[in-house]
């Protein structure tokens, strides 16, 4: 097994994700509709209720839409990361997971390839959202669109790894709906995606600390700062650490024996 072998495998996994993405255009649209609803409808309603003070990385007063845009980018990555885990559960139920498991190439490499592949597909959706948000008046620096790329990629891999880790614990597709409620919504609402954490602290100290320990908060801040051409070192360290931790956990907990179903055996 040489490097070319590993690269061919990576290429194959990325291409398959892309082919599946092309097949599921409605998934692309729904991934865009969700954050756009927040940006256009929710933000319009909350604009008056939530005044945003001047906080880094912003140099001046900003609209509420501008504040929540990075969080909505991460929302796309969050839903996609979890949905991709859903597809792993689906692959497992349909038997196509066996194709992956029968590869002689390192399973860790294949899983990481899958995470990166899913992340790359998610980035297409995030940039489509940023494009539409631009039309709606959210205009970060043009160079920020480039600077935010590695941040988005890291966050996407982190959320994909969390999803993969969770999917190893889900026996059936139906159980995943519960995880969505117990993982996606708490992660999103207990973060700085929709409101600055100082606002949360004014309401509740303990909720503030939960938000602080939520890796999604730091993922949002990493993206927010990068979009405005600044580096948030703490957010980068925590996001990178969480990415490494959950990737390792996802690879370790990926048990092929749970991933396939034997034919029923008579007593």
């Amino acid at each position: 097994m040489n490097i070319a072998t590993y690269l061919h495998a990576f290429n194959g996994v990325v291409k398959r994700e892309f082919w599946r993405f092309i097949q599921q255009r409605s998934r692309f649209l729904s991934a865009l509709v969700r954050p756009l609803l927040w940006l256009v409808v929710f933000a319009a309603g909350f604009r008056a209720a939530l005044g945003v003070a001047i906080i880094p990385p912003y140099q001046t007063y900003i609209t509420y839409e501008t504040y929540i845009a990075p969080g909505l980018c991460c929302m796309i990555l969050l839903f996609n990361g979890m949905q991709s885990s859903l597809s792993m559960v689906y692959d497992r139920e349909m038997g196509s997971m066996k194709v992956l498991l029968m590869s002689p190439i390192s399973r860790a490499w294949l899983l990481i390839s899958k995470l990166v592949a899913i992340a790359l597909i998610s980035l297409l959706q995030v940039y489509a959202f940023i494009g539409i948000a631009w039309v709606a008046g959210v205009e970060p620096p043009v160079l920020g669109l480039l600077a935010v790329l590695p941040a988005l990629l890291l966050v996407a891999v982190m959320l994909g790894a969390i999803g993969l880790f969770l999917s190893a614990r889900i026996k059936q597709l139906e159980n995943f709906a519960g995880v969505m409620n117990f993982v996606i919504f708490p992660m999103f609402f207990l973060s700085s995606a929709l409101y600055p954490l100082w606002k949360m602290r004014e309401s509740s100290e303990w909720l503030y600390w939960i938000c602080q320990y939520n890796p999604f908060t730091h993922a949002v801040e990493l993206v927010r700062f990068a979009l405005y051409l600044e580096l948030n070192g703490q957010a980068l360290a925590i996001t990178a650490g969480a990415t490494a931790l959950f990737t390792v956990l996802a690879v370790i907990s990926f048990n092929p024996e749970k991933s396939v179903r034997a034919a029923p055996v008579r007593k």
Partner: protein, 246 residues
């Protein structure tokens, strides 16, 4: 020319909780031959396949590929193994070629090499003109052929087929059976063909009869019939599978 692959299963047992799926199973595949694993549904064939393909860990016993324990040489085993599972593992929404490309990439092949090999295997199986069609558009027999083409793409030395022809009409079953048999002659492939359909076997085939997780008999169909005073494989199968547990 490379020597045909060898596979030996020795005293393998497997349990699902309290249920015994395989009980002290031992068998050796004849290299370069069409080896038949005959057993009714629930005999333990799929569990044995899951162990051979390392989807399950071996609980008891040993499986050796080319003389080495498969736990010692997992990558060598997987690189040499072509498998058609009982349940289809094709992605229905991708084209035939895309399914093959994905499999080939997972075996470290370049896209160019995969396309070259895919053309060869699909032509041989009469599917050259279907490669750009979605798998969903193919009938059951053609889907099985695609799975065989995919299993051959990385030039395996050992081909495992678990009920590969189940659910197909007689003509499709025969066509697939004959195609796989020809691989033993033309490519010196060692084949393990698991089935519960007696008409797929020939008297000269090395045959193992598996029932309730145990090997009931092994040898060529003809020699087993003679030894057990049975007139044919159907009678032989009935002889062993109508017996209750020992």
């Amino acid at each position: 020319m490379t020597e045909p692959a060898t596979l030996e299963i020795e005293h393998v047992s497997h349990h699902y909780g309290a249920r015994v799926a395989l009980d002290d199973v031992s068998l050796t595949l004849e290299p370069g031959r069409f080896n038949a694993l005959l057993g009714p549904n629930g005999a333990g064939k799929s569990t044995l396949f899951a162990l051979l393909t390392r989807l399950y860990r071996i609980q008891q016993g040993e499986i050796r590929f080319q003389g080495a324990s498969i736990e010692q040489v997992p990558k060598r085993l997987l690189a040499s193994l072509g498998v058609v599972f009982q349940q289809s593992t094709l992605d229905l929404d991708l084209t035939v070629l895309q399914n093959l490309e994905y499999h080939g990439a997972l075996h470290g092949l370049s896209t160019r090499e995969i396309r070259h090999r895919a053309d060869r295997e699909l032509s041989w199986l009469g599917l050259a003109d279907r490669k750009k069609e979605k798998v969903r558009a193919l009938n059951g027999g053609h889907r099985r052929r695609v799975e065989i083409a995919r299993a051959l793409l990385h030039k395996p030395r050992l081909l495992l087929l678990d009920e590969a022809s189940a659910g197909l009409d007689i003509a499709s079953r025969q066509a697939i059976n004959m195609a796989v048999r020809s691989l033993c002659d033309e490519r010196q492939l060692t084949v393990l063909w698991a089935t519960h359909l007696l008409e797929e076997l020939q008297p000269a085939d090395p045959t193992v009869i598996l029932h309730q997780g145990r090997v009931k008999a092994s040898g060529t169909g003809a020699s087993l019939c003679e030894a057990n005073h049975c007139e044919g494989i159907a009678a032989l199968f009935e002889h062993f599978t109508m017996q209750g547990p020992d």
